[in-house]
Amino acid sequence: MTKDQYLSDLKNRLSSLSLEERNDILRDQEELIREAMAAGRTEESVIQGLGDPKSLASALTAQKHINKATHENSLASKFKLTMRAMVAVLALAPLNFLFLLGPVLIVGCLLFSAWATLIALGAVSFAGYGALITYSSLIPFAPLGHLASFSFITGSLGVTILVSMLLWLICKMFLNMLLSYLQWNVEFVQKQVRS
């Protein structure tokens, strides 16, 4: 592969990066090849040393997605970005990814059902208020009974909110753990490629 072929191949594969980032990387690789050749290395040996443009591009793309997801604070965006990072790492290291798939799916389902339960509880609480108003005449022990029912429903709504906050934190933690694993994966694959 010649220098121009290498750079053009790399350029095509970096389409998911921003123009600035892509040009930055291409500039660096170009300088590296040029300077190494000026120092006496052959074009072929330098380019071979740089490794396959495909895996370099996959690693860079995956790294970018991981960085974005890690720095994102909103849970919804973080989830979306983490999924994107997972796809990128899948392209890079399919076997490692499959190894991870089982546990991630299990935990994902658990968290999802936790959210579903909380939403249901929240809905029931609101329904409770509705019922309280509609059937207020049917509640025994007149004012105290109403107060007790109201307190109970508000209490369960409160618990739902508190548990959702906890669940939100747990989801974030889980995503960060997943991102750390993905990061490790990217670094591990890079080491294997460059020896």
């Binding site: 990387i25 660096d28 690789q29 300088e31 190494a36 000026a38 040393g49 460059r194």
Partner: protein, 118 residues
């Protein structure tokens, strides 16, 4: 060289070299690979990351040998990070040397113990 040692150490070396004076990419590759066997592709990604994290900043300088070169220069955050890392390295090396020394003195002591003949 053991790759476990590699990872943090290369980054520290790069920071220390830039701290000494502004450098461009390949200059660092050259300086490090003279002493440590590294793959050429290792240095540039580290430089990108260090710049992203704010430890260094870049500027372009015209070069007589071709297109302008991107030079890396320390920021104040970078300077303190460099001092921190080099300090950690020095105490680490000292501690390990201590342990290796102890191992050697224990060996010598054992050799000196001879059975007393009656």
């Amino acid at each position: 060289m053991n790759s476990q040692f590699h990872k943090g150490v290369i980054e520290m070396c790069i920071l220390a070299l830039i701290n000494e004076g502004d450098r461009y990419g390949y200059e660092l590759v050259d300086a490090i690979s003279k002493n440590l066997p590294i793959s050429e592709g290792t240095v540039y990604p580290i430089l990108r990351r260090l710049t992203q994290e704010g430890y260094c900043e870049t500027y372009l300088k015209e070069s007589s040998e071709g297109p302008p070169r991107k030079y890396y220069r320390m920021t104040s955050v970078g300077k303190s990070q460099t001092q921190e890392l080099v300090g950690q390295w020095s105490s680490f090396v000292k501690s390990v040397d201590q342990i290796l020394k102890i191992k050697n003195t224990t060996k010598e002591k054992k050799n000196d113990q001879r059975p007393i003949s009656i």
